[in-house]
């Protein structure tokens, strides 16, 4: 699976290898698969793509990230001070790819520090506590703040309900109706997870990674194409509508 063309860094662990597109669609974007097969992904494999996780305090942002990156769950609550981050390495369609996942403090007093880290995010994860609908309502504000620091349309947005293990099936469904509604409004993809049991956590982050990767490759291709166009070999067919579509995934309730 590993190519001699991907020399950077040690091998990634087996469960960080994404070969087929997770969830919602079967395959990577045609241009992306082709580029990956030709190992023509430019600098994508070298860059860190930025993911920012925001949301009220005590919804479990840190727990979610720790479950994914370290596969641990700490029952004790410890408020995040300012910001923290983890770097997670993947191999996607044969190309190494890294996400830098920024964990921000939910406490109001750290907002001015954490918001300085919103810029340049490829994905924004707005987390809320499924057992506290107030925190769902607040995700609007969190998203607005995070989007303000980024180019319009440049970020994937995810709405993630946490602590799924604390709710009965029926109660969860009820909470999710509202959440999916809001997700549609936000043009976000909705997921519900449990950091405690690990339910959906890995699937969710693999999905984030795959989408971010695909976007990175497409952007890279586009960048290189447009510089080639400027050189005068304008024989290129752009598939813009399709690109746009993959940038904005349709929102879906899941699980």
């Amino acid at each position: 699976m590993r190519s001699s063309l991907t020399p950077l860094g040690p091998p990634v662990s087996r469960d960080r290898i994404i070969a087929t597109f997770p969830k919602l669609k079967e395959h990577f974007h045609g241009q992306v698969s082709a580029a990956c097969q030709r190992r023509n992904t430019g600098t994508v494999g070298l860059n860190l793509s930025k993911v920012v996780v925001v949301g009220d305090l005590y919804v479990g942002k840190t727990s979610l990230i720790h479950r994914f990156c370290k596969n641990v769950f700490d029952r004790d609550y410890k408020a995040t001070i300012g910001v923290d981050f983890e770097i997670e390495r993947f191999e996607i369609a044969g190309i190494p790819y890294s996400l830098q996942i920024w964990d921000t403090a939910g406490q109001e007093k750290f907002k001015c520090i954490a918001s300085a880290y919103y810029r340049g995010a490829q994905a924004i994860i707005t987390a809320f506590d499924l057992t506290d609908m107030q925190t769902l309502e607040h995700t609007r504000q969190w998203l607005e703040d995070a989007l303000r620091e980024n180019e319009p349309g440049s970020c994937f947005v995810f709405l993630v309900g946490t602590k799924k293990d604390l709710l009965s099936g029926a109660a969860c469904e009820q909470a999710e109706v509202e959440a999916v509604h809001l997700a549609n409004e936000m043009q976000a993809e909705y997921w519900s997870v449990s950091a405690k049991t690990g339910e959906n956590v890995k699937a969710f982050f693999l999905r984030v990674a795959a989408l971010a990767f695909e976007q990175s490759v497409l952007q890279d291709l586009e960048r290189r194409d447009s510089s080639r166009l400027q050189l005068g070999t304008g024989d290129l067919i752009r598939t813009l509508p399709e690109t746009q579509e993959s940038k904005r995934p349709s929102s879906l309730g899941c699980c």
């Binding site: 040690p10 930025k50 910001v83 923290d84 001015c112 300085a116």
Partner: protein, 209 residues
């Protein structure tokens, strides 16, 4: 109308003067210092003089009106005095309050006049807030930098372990390692470069990674 020389507001002993001058003295008093007793004195004097005028019916007519006026005066004076008494009590309470606050204020000399946006810090509290936002920002940035360096070093170690980089300390291997580190996060172990790297990195990790 003759008025006594202006006295300080708080002339609580003014009645003595009236008493000394007999019922006639009430007519010489300041209207603001009249008591109900003064009004009775005035009634006595006026009544006595009306009596002296005899029983002319016009005098009798006038007498009714004068009695009525005096009753009004009595009511007004009574009301006025009650109000004065209330205000006096109020004033005394406020004076006591001011006194108490002054004592407390001087007892707690370190207390400053605080606006609504201010807060008092207990300097003896070991958990009192004492670092600035900028200091926290700097510490976080430093921490983030160190953390990413740690991650790079961990990966590098894994590279050695997995045999991706030969373990020999030859110049070739050395260079490869340096490139890896520099490419991964712009950091370097070179001391001289440290300040530039630090700036670079803080830009990358803090603002725009």
């Amino acid at each position: 109308m003759e008025e006594p020389p202006l006295r300080e507001e708080e002339g609580e002993e003014e009645e003595e003067e009236g008493d000394e001058a007999g019922p006639e003295g009430a007519l010489r008093k300041s209207p603001f210092q009249l008591t109900v007793e003064d009004v009775y004195d005035i009634s006595y004097v006026v009544g006595r003089e009306l009596m002296a005028l005899g029983s002319d019916p016009r005098v009798t007519q006038l007498q009714f009106k004068i009695v009525r006026v005096l009753e009004m005066l009595e009511t007004l004076v009574n009301e006025g005095n009650l109000a004065v008494e209330e205000l006096r009590m109020e004033r005394d309470n406020l004076r006591k309050e001011v006194e108490r606050l002054r004592r407390e204020g001087s007892a707690a000399t370190r207390e400053v006049n605080l606006g609504p946006e201010k807060m008092v810090v207990d300097l003896t509290d070991p958990n009192r807030p004492r670092f600035t936002l900028q200091e926290l920002r700097d510490v976080l940035q430093e921490r983030n930098k160190l953390k990413s360096q740690l991650l790079v070093v961990q990966e590098e170690l894994q590279c050695y372990k997995s045999g991706l980089i030969p373990a020999r300390e030859g110049p070739g291997g050395r260079r490869e390692k340096d490139t890896l580190v520099a490419r991964a996060n712009n950091a370097s172990s070179n001391r001289e470069e440290k300040t530039i790297i630090r700036k670079l990195f803080s830009f990358r990790s803090g603002k725009q990674t």
